[in-house]
């Protein structure tokens, strides 16, 4: 069931087209990774989704309604947008008490989310003395105050130590397993690959693709890596057979679009010895750079975050 839906979303800041006719959706019980290079329009899109930035065109809805029209919004959507949205002179507990009061959340929930975020011991400390990682945890605690069904997180792993990243991964997977919808932007592709069911890729304000992680890597095609002492000869033979092969080293080849069986059979016919031959699915990082490579060759426009 679709919870977050974006259709034709467009935002223009003066002469800069920050987001250009972007459409995607995120479903209940899934983690959707929202990827893109810096300046791709991710943050602007998320802020439009949350009613903080007025779109130039298109619609963004959560549970079928624009954010501003949601009754009791913090009970439906939790958001982490930046790790600096805190008054430094306020304690963590007081910050959450303020947000709980504003969102009509019971005061008892404050202690629960502090515990959940691993901040119970720092509850009475002023936020000004918090590390970036602690602020991220506090941001997540704030987002979870209303026990919302959807979470929209912008780079939530920024500043987290390895333990924190593992904690975040477990938390987001657990929330999705519990039926919540998680939309998470990140530039740490390996992290997204570990937690996301679906991936949305944005570049230069335009949607490049939305697919499941499996579809995406399959679509990119597997790479067959071959080690042979007669790599140049095999390279020529593969090219003559219409395969896309390139020399990855003096004794190494990478072939796209064929199977290990096809490459091995051709080598056997030419009596070329093969020391290694294995198919490897591309990583999310490889797919990401493949998909964003062409536009990235153009000088990026400076866009508002």
């Amino acid at each position: 069931m679709t919870v977050i839906e974006v259709r034709g979303l467009t935002k223009r800041f003066g002469p800069v087209l920050a987001v250009d006719d972007v459409s995607f959706h995120a479903d209940r019980g899934t983690v959707t990774g929202f990827l893109g290079p810096n300046g791709a329009g991710k943050t602007t899109t998320l802020r439009m989704l949350l009613g903080l930035i007025e779109p130039t065109g298109g619609t963004a809805t959560i549970n079928g309604r624009a954010y501003r029209d949601l009754p009791g919004p913090v009970h439906q959507v939790g958001a982490v947008l930046e790790a600096t949205s805190f008054h430094p002179g306020r304690t963590a507990r007081d910050h959450l008490r303020v947000q709980a009061a504003a969102g009509q959340v019971g005061a008892s929930r404050v202690s629960e989310v502090l515990e959940l975020a691993g901040l119970a011991g720092a509850a009475h400390r002023r936020i000004g003395g918090f590390s970036l990682g602690m602020r991220q945890r506090l941001g997540l605690a704030t987002a979870l105050l209303g026990d919302p069904g959807a979470l929209i997180l912008d780079e939530p792993a920024n500043g987290l130590d390895p333990d924190g990243v593992r904690w975040l991964r477990g938390l987001l997977r657990g929330l999705a397993a519990g039926g919540r919808t998680v939309l998470v932007s990140s530039h740490i592709l390996a992290e997204v690959a570990q937690i996301a069911d679906h991936v949305i890729i944005l570049d230069h304000g335009r949607l490049i693709t939305q697919a499941t992680l499996t579809e995406l890597t399959a679509r990119a095609g597997q790479v067959v890596r071959i080690r042979t002492p007669r790599a140049a000869q095999l390279h020529a033979a593969l090219a003559a057979a219409g395969q896309r092969a390139h020399m990855a080293g003096p004794d190494r080849l990478e072939v796209t679009g064929c199977t290990p069986e096809q490459a091995g059979t051709l080598a056997a016919q030419l009596a070329i010895p093969i020391y290694e031959c294995a198919a490897q699915a591309p990583s999310l990082e490889e797919v990401f750079f493949h998909l964003t490579a062409a536009p990235a060759s153009q000088p990026p426009q400076e866009m508002p975050r």
């Binding site: 602007t44 007025e54 930046e82 949205s85 002179g89």
Partner: protein
């Protein structure tokens, strides 16, 4: 609306700035009141009239303007601190209707402003009556007049704090907004009021301080109700403009 007001009250009671501003406002008021009392009748330039005259005692009682301006600064910070610390994002996520947030800030600032005014009025009244008694003078003002000045200081502080909330929402930059308040209150109004006496009673800070007994240049303050309505009207207009601009602003 009560939810948003409750959140705004909690915001102000969980940071130290309001107490700091209150302490500053009351300390400056106490110092100015004591100085005025000490120099009353001495022929010094600040306060020539002795305390056994209505003018002298009124001059002392109306030194509440420091508490009043600090109330306005507090009102400004209720709005500007949201942008200074980027907490506006969370505020508008919890309450997407931004005009409601601004209304809650205006009402909350009014309430806190009353406290500033109360503290200022209590200090000037205590200092004024204390010095008058210590010098063995007869109190030349009626109790109702002293009470009216006190009530005026309280009401004026509340209204200026509300006006500050609207002004802060318009300007957004905390430093710029606070500087604007001081420049307007101490420089622009004194200059305008000094040059154009008929205009003086209609200037917002002078109208507010006139509620507390301080006569504007030219010596003809607006009646109490008219001055109150004037400041309330300016606050309403500022708030309406701020609500309109805030509703359309991108929060990034």
């Amino acid at each position: 609306m009560t939810t948003a007001i409750r959140a705004e009250i909690l915001k102000l009671t969980t940071i130290r700035l309001p107490l700091g501003l209150l302490a500053t406002g009351t300390a400056l008021t106490a110092a100015m009141a004591a100085l005025t009392a000490a120099q009353a009748g001495s022929g010094a330039s600040m306060a020539d009239a002795p305390l056994d005259t209505a003018a002298g005692l009124t001059g002392l009682l109306s030194t509440t303007y420091f508490a009043m301006i600090m109330a306005m600064v507090l009102g400004v910070t209720t709005a500007t601190s949201e942008f200074r610390h980027s907490t506006a994002t969370l505020t508008y996520l919890a309450t997407p209707h931004r005009a409601r947030v601004l209304a809650a800030k205006t009402i909350t600032a009014f309430g806190f402003g009353l406290i500033f005014g109360l503290a200022g009025a209590a200090i000037t009244t205590a200092v004024g009556l204390g010095f008058t008694a210590a010098k063995g003078y007869h109190v030349t003002l009626a109790a109702t007049t002293i009470a009216r000045y006190g009530a005026g200081a309280i009401l004026g502080s509340g209204l200026l704090a509300s006006l500050g909330a609207g002004l802060g929402s318009l300007i957004r930059s905390q430093l710029a907004a606070v500087i604007t308040v001081f420049l307007w209150a101490f420089l622009a109004e004194n200059t305008l009021g000094g040059l154009f006496h008929p205009l003086a009673p209609y200037l917002p800070f002078m109208a507010a301080t006139s509620l507390a007994g301080s006569p504007p240049p030219g010596g003809k303050p607006l009646p109490f109700a008219a001055a109150t309505l004037l400041i309330a009207g300016i606050t309403a207009i500022t708030g309406a403009v701020a609500a309109r601009t805030t509703a359309q602003a991108d929060i990034s």
